[in-house]
C-alpha cells in the first residue's frame, strides 16, 4: 500500500501528467517543490541539520501553479480553496473553463493541498467567487492568451485571425488549419510570470471576458463530486489509512478549567493494543493499535482532575442576565447619524424591545478528525480543515517545525461552516504523531464535538425606535452585547484547544466582535452601540466562540428584523410595505447598487410568495392550528436576501411547522444556479434549525448538551412542504459586461430566524423575542397571552 492510497483519486489523477511525471516532480523542476516519502510510512531518524524543506509554497505568480494542460488536451486547475459541500469546486471549473475556452468536461480541479495549490486561504466568508474567483479567471484568461500566441507562431497567422473553440485554435480563414492546446503546451510549462502584490491581485495581461461571452458559467451543471459520494467510492479525510497507523482518542477534562493532577497509566497499560498515554499539561490522550481499542482505553483511563476556585460560567438559565450585567471587555465607540437623542424626545411614539439568542453550536455531523504522517522529518496532515493553509501554519508553529516541512492535504469532510476554521484535531494528530514517531489518526467522540466545539456567540440586543405622528420611523437605536470575548477561528497555534490545555496558549485573549444592522433603511437619526462581554473563564473551556456561518449575522438580524416588524405594527403598516417605504425613502446608493438591489429583492419575494398585504397579526384566529406569514430582509457584503416564512402554530402543543419558505436572492452574476439554489435551500433550513431547536445548555462548569438528544436539531419531520427560490439580478444594468460575482451561503442564514418569528406573531399575535422557538416556550407564551 502506498502512502498516497488515501489521497482523493482526482488528486492522484490530476497530478499525473501524460509524460508520467507527477505534479510534484513537475513543480520540482521549476524549483518549487521537492518531496520524498518513506514507503513504509514509518518515521526516519530525525536529521539534525535541516536543509530546505520539501513543501515550499506554490508560487501564485507562476501561471504553471494554476493550470496544467496535458498532451491529450485536458486541463487541471489548481486552486487554493476548499469545497465544504456547496459545489464551489464545480463553479471554479466553470469560470476557469470559460476563460480558457476549454470544455468543462475536459477539466478537473484540485483544491486545498498546501504544497500543490496556491495559498488562497481555503474557505470562509462565502467569498469563493466574490474574491478568489477573480485570480482564477485571470490566470485562465492569461493561459488562453499565451496559447493563442503560441498558436500564432505555430500556424504563422496573426492572433487576430485565429479563434478558439473547445481547446482547439483554428484559423478563421481556413478552419482546417488548427492546433489543440495539448499540442501547443502539453507536457511543458508555460513559464509565464503573473504580477500582483498578493494572490487576490494575481493577474496576467489578458483581460477577462465580458460576462455575455461566458458559456459554461451560468449553466446548472451537476456537481462533479456527487456521484462518488452517492456510490460509496469517495475517499474522505476520515478514510485515510497509512501503513503502521495507530489510533488516538482524547480524554477531555470533565469540567471547564480542570487541572490534571494525576494519571494512572496502569489502568490502561494491559488493555489490548495499548501503545501510549500522551500527556502535556492538561491535554490527555490515549494511543492504541486499533480504533475501538483507543475508544475503550480513553474511557478506561483513570485520571484525577481538580476544580478551579471559581465557577467557569453562569448556568445557561442565567446566561442572558449575566450578559446584561457583565462589564464589557470591549465597547466600540457608538456610531451616531443625525441627532437620535433629540429625535427620540420629539417622537410621538417610542417602541422598545430586547432580543436574546443563546450559544448555538456547529454540532458537525462528523466529529473533528485528522491523520498525521511524521515520516522523513516532515509532517503531512490529512484533514477536512476548510482553511488548510492556516492549519499548516498553525501546526508548523505548534511543533516548531519549519513551515516548508509541513503540509496539510485537504479532503472532504463533514460540513465546515466555520468549525474547521478553528479545527483542533489536526494539531492534536500532528503533535501525537511527532511524539510517537508513527502515523496516527485522531477522531473526537460525539460528546467532545457537541460539548467542546466552537459556538456562535450568544447575544442580547436592545432596540428602540421613535415614530412621528404619521408613523414614519425617525429615530433608531441598536445596542448589542455579544458573549464573544476570546473568539477563535483561524487555526492559531496558540489558541487551538491543545495549546490551551498544554499551557502553550497566548497571553492575551482575542478581542471578539459584535455585528451591526445590515439593511438600507433610510432612517434620519440612528445610534449604534456594541459591547463584547466575556464569561468568567476564558481558556480551557467548552464554551468558546468561533465562526458559525456568519458569526454574528443571524443573531443581529433576528433582533433588527423582528424589531422592524414590531415597529411596522406600531405604525399600523403591512410589514413589507413598511420596509419598502424605508428602502425607497433613501436616495443615495453605493457602488454595488445595494439600495436598488434591496428594493428589487423585496419586491421579488413579495411577488413569489403571493404576499397578502395587511397589518399583522392575522385577524381571525380559530382552530387548533394557526397560520401566518412573516418576512425579513438583509444583506451581507453585496449579497442581498429577502425571505418569507409561512408557518403553522399548534396552540395545543406549541409546535411550529414552517410549511413554506420563499427566498429572493441577489448574488450578482450566478455561475451555477443549481448550486446556488441548493445552498439557499439548505442554508435556510440550517437557520430554521437554529430558530426552532438549537441551544447549548450548561451548568456552571460543564456543557450538558453533548449529543443529538440533548442538542436537538431540525429533522426530516420538520422539512417545509414547499420551498420557492427566486434568483434576482437587481443591478440597474444587469447586462453590463463586468457584472460582479458575489457570495452565496452566509447571507441566507441571517434573516430566517426573524422571518419565522414574525410569522409566528402574524399567526398568533404573540411576539417571541428569544430563540429557539421550542414548543414548550411557544406554548408558555401562548398561554400567558391567552391565545
Amino acid at each position: 500500500m502506498s502512502v498516497f492510497t488515501s489521497v482523493p483519486p482526482e488528486v492522484d489523477a490530476a497530478v499525473q501528467r501524460a509524460d508520467g511525471a507527477s505534479r510534484r516532480d513537475f513543480l520540482k523542476s521549476t524549483g518549487l517543490l521537492v518531496v520524498s516519502f518513506s514507503v513504509a510510512g514509518v518515521a526516519a531518524p530525525l536529521q539534525t541539520a535541516q536543509g530546505p524543506g520539501p513543501y515550499p509554497d506554490p508560487d501564485f505568480r507562476q501561471l504553471d501553479t494554476w493550470i496544467v494542460i496535458r498532451e491529450d488536451n485536458t486541463a487541471t486547475f489548481f486552486v487554493g480553496k476548499t469545497d465544504p459541500g456547496q459545489g464551489t469546486g464545480t463553479a471554479f471549473r466553470q469560470i476557469m473553463s470559460d476563460e480558457l475556452d476549454m470544455p468543462y468536461d475536459r477539466t478537473s480541479c484540485v483544491m486545498g493541498a498546501t504544497d500543490v495549490t496556491p495559498d488562497q486561504g481555503g474557505s470562509g466568508g462565502s467569498d469563493a467567487l466574490q474574491v478568489d474567483g477573480y485570480p482564477m479567471r485571470r490566470a485562465a484568461a492569461e493561459a488562453r492568451r499565451v496559447l493563442l500566441e503560441m498558436a500564432s507562431a505555430r500556424l504563422g497567422v496573426p492572433v487576430s485571425q485565429l479563434y478558439v473553440r473547445d481547446g482547439v485554435v483554428s484559423v478563421e480563414a481556413d478552419p482546417s488549419r488548427k492546433v489543440t492546446y495539448g499540442q501547443l503546451i502539453g507536457g511543458r510549462r508555460f513559464n509565464v510570470t503573473l504580477t500582483g502584490d498578493n494572490v487576490n491581485a494575481a493577474t496576467g495581461i489578458a483581460p477577462l471576458k465580458n460576462v455575455q461571452d461566458l458559456k459554461t458559467s451560468g449553466q446548472p451543471l451537476p456537481r462533479y463530486d456527487i456521484p462518488a459520494k452517492v456510490d460509496g467510492s469517495h475517499k474522505w479525510a476520515v478514510d485515510v489509512k497509512l501503513p503502521g497507523m495507530v489510533h488516538a482518542r482524547n480524554v477531555k477534562p470533565p469540567f471547564a478549567g480542570a487541572t490534571l493532577t494525576n494519571v494512572d497509566e496502569s489502568s490502561v497499560r494491559n488493555l489490548p493494543g495499548f501503545v501510549r498515554v500522551i500527556r502535556s499539561g492538561n491535554y490527555l490522550a490515549v494511543v492504541c493499535e486499533r480504533e475501538e481499542q483507543a475508544i475503550r482505553a480513553a474511557s478506561a483511563l483513570k485520571a484525577t482532575w481538580s476544580r478551579p476556585s471559581t465557577a467557569p460560567f453562569p448556568a445557561s438559565e442565567s446566561l442572558f442576565d449575566y450578559i446584561r450585567s457583565a462589564t464589557p471587555t470591549f465597547s466600540a465607540p457608538p456610531v451616531v447619524v443625525g441627532t437620535p437623542d433629540a429625535a427620540f424626545q420629539s417622537a410621538a411614539k417610542v417602541v422598545e424591545a430586547q432580543y436574546e439568542v443563546p450559544f448555538q453550536g456547529h454540532a458537525s455531523i462528523g466529529p473533528a478528525h485528522a491523520t498525521a504522517d511524521p515520516s522523513n522529518d516532515q509532517m503531512t496532515v490529512y484533514s477536512n480543515d476548510m482553511k488548510a493553509y492556516g492549519m499548516r501554519d498553525g501546526i508548523a508553529q505548534f511543533l516548531q517545525m519549519p513551515r516548508d516541512r509541513v503540509r496539510v492535504v485537504w479532503m472532504d469532510g463533514p460540513q465546515g461552516f466555520g468549525r474547521t476554521a478553528a479545527d483542533d484535531a489536526g494539531v492534536e494528530a500532528a503533535f501525537i504523531a511527532k511524539e510517537i514517531g508513527r502515523p496516527v489518526r485522531v477522531q473526537w467522540m460525539r460528546h467532545e464535538e457537541t460539548g467542546w466545539d466552537t459556538k456562535a456567540p450568544a447575544y442580547v440586543v436592545s432596540m428602540r425606535a421613535g415614530l412621528d405622528p404619521q408613523g414614519t420611523l425617525t429615530a433608531y437605536s441598536f445596542e448589542a452585547r455579544a458573549a464573544d470575548h476570546n473568539h477563535l477561528g483561524y487555526n492559531e497555534h496558540d489558541t487551538v484547544l491543545i495549546a490551551q490545555l498544554a499551557n502553550r496558549r497566548k497571553a492575551t485573549p482575542n478581542r471578539g466582535s459584535v455585528g451591526t444592522p445590515s439593511e438600507m433603511y433610510a432612517i434620519p437619526n440612528r445610534r449604534s452601540a456594541t459591547h463584547v462581554v466575556g464569561l468568567p473563564l476564558v481558556w480551557e473551556t467548552p464554551i468558546r466562540t468561533g465562526n458559525l456561518r456568519d458569526p454574528n449575522g443571524p443573531q443581529v438580524t433576528f433582533a433588527t428584523e423582528t424589531f422592524i416588524d414590531e415597529v411596522a405594527v406600531a405604525a399600523g403598516a403591512d410589514p413589507i410595505a413598511f420596509r419598502m417605504k424605508l428602502l425607497t425613502a433613501g436616495t443615495t446608493d453605493d457602488s454595488g447598487f445595494k439600495r436598488a438591489r434591496s428594493i428589487a429583492v423585496l419586491k421579488a419575494v413579495t411577488d413569489a410568495s403571493g404576499w397578502d398585504t395587511r397589518v399583522s397579526p392575522k385577524p381571525a384566529r380559530t382552530g387548533d392550528v394557526l397560520s401566518g406569514r412573516g418576512v425579513a430582509y438583509t444583506f451581507r457584503n453585496q449579497t442581498v436576501v429577502a425571505q418569507v416564512a409561512e408557518v403553522e402554530v399548534n396552540r395545543r402543543t406549541g409546535r411550529v411547522w414552517v410549511k413554506r419558505l420563499v427566498c429572493a436572492h441577489d448574488c450578482g452574476l450566478v455561475i451555477n444556479p443549481s448550486g446556488v439554489r441548493a445552498t439557499i435551500e439548505c442554508g435556510m433550513l440550517h437557520s430554521l434549525s437554529r430558530a426552532l431547536y438549537e441551544e447549548a445548555t450548561f451548568d456552571t462548569e460543564t456543557v450538558t448538551s453533548m449529543d443529538w438528544m440533548t442538542y436537538p436539531t431540525l429533522r426530516h419531520t420538520d422539512a417545509p412542504e414547499r420551498i420557492d427560490i427566486v434568483l434576482v439580478n437587481g443591478d440597474p444594468n444587469p447586462n453590463r459586461p463586468d457584472l460582479p460575482m458575489y457570495g452565496a451561503g452566509e447571507t441566507i442564514c441571517k434573516p430566517l430566524m426573524a422571518a419565522v418569528g414574525n410569522a409566528i406573531f402574524d399567526a398568533t399575535g404573540v411576539r417571541l423575542r428569544r430563540v429557539p422557538f421550542k414548543s414548550e416556550r411557544v406554548l408558555a407564551a401562548l398561554k400567558a397571552a391567552r391565545v
Binding site: 474522505w236 486499533r290 462528523g366 443549481s674 441548493a678 440550517h686 449529543d707
Partner: protein
C-alpha cells in the same frame, strides 16, 4: 480476539477481532468499506447505517459477533452489476448532497423504507426518515429524491424520459 466470518456485499470475509467490537470499525478498518461513517457512536444520527436482511441497522452499536453469518450490504454494495440502485440514481438526479457525510445513512434508510413501502406518502417518508440527521439540512431534497426513486423503481429502474435533472 476471535475469528468471525462476515458476508458483506456478497463476499465472504474472516476477521480476527474482539467479538464485542462494533461492526462499524470492522467494516471500515478491516474490510476497507468506507460507506458507513462514525457520526455519534450512540445510534442517534444514522451515519453508520448498513443493511442487514433489508433493514437499516446502525453499525456503531452492533457488536460484530451479532452480524456474523448474516449478509450485510453497505453503500458500496448497493449498485448491481455496475448499475446504480434507483435510490442512488435519484440522489444524483436531485443533486442531494451538500457535504455528503450523512448521505450513506440517508440513502440506505431510504432504500429500506422503499423496500417495505414502494409508494410512501409524504408523511410516511418524513416519519420513516426522521431518525437520520443531516447537518447541511438536505432534508427537502432527500424527500424529493425518495419520491423520484419510488417512481424509478415503479418504472423498472429506468429514468423516465423528459425528467429534468437538477
Amino acid at each position: 480476539m476471535a475469528i468471525l466470518r462476515l458476508t458483506v456485499n456478497g463476499r465472504a470475509h474472516s476477521v480476527d477481532v474482539d467479538p464485542s467490537t462494533p461492526l462499524l470499525y470492522v467494516l471500515r478498518n478491516d474490510l476497507d468499506l468506507r460507506g458507513p461513517r462514525f457520526g455519534c457512536g450512540l445510534s442517534q444520527c444514522g451515519a453508520c447505517t448498513v443493511l442487514i436482511k433489508g433493514a437499516a441497522v446502525r453499525s456503531c452499536i452492533m457488536p460484530v459477533s451479532a452480524a456474523a453469518g448474516t449478509p450485510i450490504t453497505t453503500l458500496e454494495g448497493l449498485a448491481t452489476d455496475g448499475r446504480l440502485d434507483p435510490v442512488q440514481q435519484a440522489w444524483i438526479d436531485e443533486q442531494v448532497p451538500q457535504c455528503g457525510f450523512c448521505q450513506n445513512g440517508q440513502i440506505l434508510t431510504a432504500k429500506a423504507l422503499l423496500a417495505k413501502n414502494p409508494s410512501p406518502t409524504d408523511a410516511q417518508i418524513r416519519e420513516g426518515m426522521a431518525g437520520v440527521l443531516c447537518r447541511c439540512f438536505t432534508y427537502y431534497r432527500i424527500q424529493a429524491a425518495i419520491k423520484r426513486a419510488a417512481r424509478l423503481m415503479a418504472d423498472g429502474g429506468e429514468r423516465s424520459e423528459g425528467e429534468v435533472v437538477a
